[in-house]
Amino acid sequence: MALMAVVTDPAHVALKREVIVERKAPDDEILLMDWLNALIYEMSANQLIFGSFDVLLGDHHLQGRAWGEKVDVERHEPAVEVKGATCTALSVTQNSNRDWVAQCVVDV
């Protein structure tokens, strides 16, 4: 959701289309990059923008679904294209409350 907020307000995205993503990676950090880059690819190649996600994780394996719509310049006023997910500040950790925290700097 933070990735989409870089571009527009995700609350204004209609959930009309579904994209399914499945990725395997050597570790969870690369897996996070892969997930974000899969969404960035859909945004770039197919002009999609997303407002809702469902992700299932296990053993450096991800099954994700994203719902959104084709970008509408007047309604979404997209601020910027996201070029890609970087390795900068990339981390996937569990905090003391056992909540997962995933962070990644994306290039715009």
Partner: protein, 476 residues
């Protein structure tokens, strides 16, 4: 950045001697004021670059350096393949071959002022800009591969420009050594309908007024006079370059340990130049350079079309086209010997001095034009390369103002529509599909470009030739 952590060599040169795993020193060119404005991360990142295998002489940061990923933006580093040197996807950046092309118009401010609004509207209609914009072309697989091999030459062959345009483009508009097969289908798919588009973020097209000439002889050689109008195009290899950066950053991050490269940080992901992965990246990156050349060539054609109905007879010629996100093979002096090095410039402009064979023949006695983009409300500059920059920074200079505020901070501080109104009152017409994008690119979010180019000049990296003020800005 705290200056106490640096050794001051001169008013504009700061140094960090090798320590820990650093193989060479780190050198930052900037005034004390610019150093204080730089993020501490610049220091950390340029020190990390200095640890990479095969690095020669020093890791350099230009006066507009700011926090990037892996390499700082405004970073320069050269690697020797014979000493295990590396090539780094993060050392080039996602926007491969992002650069500036400046066009001479043969017009003066008095010619343009009465039709400025019509010209702004015509440029905005002709040049696709912003998120989701699509170009006029849709390339087939074979056309894409031809474009990736041919660069601006391909575009001219398709009717988008002239031979003269190519002679004023870096590498004559075609980067050799491109390998279209090294480019993923994802990257090609992203580019299929993006030829001739500006993109978003800090990319723009501006009509600019030459308000000051600093060096008359160089300006004359470049064809610039005070009061002239020029057009500058700032964009790169679009989705194709972004995807190549994405593909190889991941692969290099995963494979680095298999090549025995001990990375201080994963974000420095790289591969030996002489390795299958290094060679594959270089082939793909060079294809992206050609994509950027072709993109700026097609936009040039669209600019000419946009001018034609508003100012009939206007003849737009290319002053120069130079990239600031590349890795290029160049010959440089190291310890008294010429060496073939792989020079990474990320947010840094190649700045060859007089008599360098890489400068177009018609400009060779003067030096290479160095095109510096400002912001939509501040000046841009045309500089010229110096002979001294060879020993200072592998013939490199700054590339722009450099951000000093995050996009989130900028949107809290400015409103896009108010900003456009304020700039219109100053005589600067902004055309953009995204008010929020305009706010994120507010002039106040950037460093003082005047201070950056002055520091570049005082450091000997390049010299000021002309100052350009924006009149019209098409912003993605």
């Amino acid at each position: 950045m705290d200056t106490k952590s640096l050794q001051r060599v001169s008013a504009e040169e700061w140094r960090i001697e090798p320590q820990g795993k650093m193989r060479v020193p780190a050198v930052i060119y900037a005034t004390e004021e610019l150093i204080r404005e730089m993020d501490e991360k610049v220091r950390e990142q340029i020190v990390n670059v200095a640890t990479l295998p095969g690095i020669e002489k020093a890791a350099y940061a230009m006066p507009d350096a700011h926090w990037g990923y892996g390499f700082p933006i405004g970073g320069v580093a050269a690697f020797d393949p014979d000493r295990g040197g590396v090539v780094s996807a993060g050392g080039v950046g996602f926007d491969i071959s992002c650069g500036v092309r400046t066009l001479l118009t043969g017009l003066t401010a008095e010619d343009v002022e009465p039709v400025k609004r019509s010209l702004a509207d015509s440029l905005y209609r002709h040049i696709p800009a912003g998120v989701g914009s699509r170009g006029l072309l849709e390339l087939s697989d074979s056309e894409l591969d031809e474009m990736l091999s041919g660069g601006a030459r391909w575009a001219v062959n398709q009717g988008y420009g002239t031979e003269a345009d190519l002679s004023r483009t870096e590498e004559n508009g075609r980067m050799s050594g491109a390998i279209p097969d090294a480019v993923s289908q994802f990257a090609k798919h992203r580019q299929r309908r993006e030829m001739g588009t500006l993109g978003s973020g800090n990319h723009y097209l501006e009509a600019q007024h030459v308000t000051e000439v600093f060096e008359v002889s160089a300006a004359e050689a470049f064809g610039i006079r005070r009061n002239d109008i020029v057009v500058s195009i700032h964009c790169g290899s679009r989705g194709l370059g972004h995807q190549i950066g994405t593909d190889f950053l991941r692969e290099m991050a995963v494979e680095a340990k298999n090549y025995g490269i001990d990375l201080p940080d994963r974000e420095l992901a790289c591969a030996p130049i002489e390795s299958p992965l290094g060679e594959k990246y270089l082939g793909a990156m060079r294809a992206a350079i050609n994509c950027a050349f072709a993109n700026r060539q097609i936009i040039t054609h669209l600019v000419r079309r946009a001018f034609a109905p508003v100012i009939p007879g206007a003849a737009l010629t290319v002053l120069y086209d130079v990239s600031h996100n590349t890795c290029k093979v160049e010959e440089h002096q190291v310890d008294g010997h010429m060496k073939r090095l792989f020079v990474h410039r990320k947010g840094a402009t190649r700045a060859f001095g007089p008599n360098h064979p890489g400068v177009p023949e018609t400009l060779r006695s003067i030096g290479q034009p160095v095109l510096i983009g400002g912001t939509m409300g501040t000046a841009s500059y045309i500089l010229v390369g110096t002979s001294e920059s060879e020993s200072h920074s592998f013939s490199s200079s700054c590339h722009g103002a450099g951000r000093q505020m995050s996009r989130a901070q900028a949107t809290k501080r400015w409103r896009g529509r108010e900003l456009m109104d304020e700039l219109a009152e100053r005589g600067i017409l902004i055309r953009s599909p995204s008010p929020r994008g305009v706010a994120e690119e507010a002039p106040g979010a950037y460093k003082d470009v005047n201070a950056v180019v002055e520091a570049s000049e005082k450091s000997g990296l390049s010299r000021r030739v002309a100052k350009l003020e924006p009149l019209i800005c098409i912003k993605g």
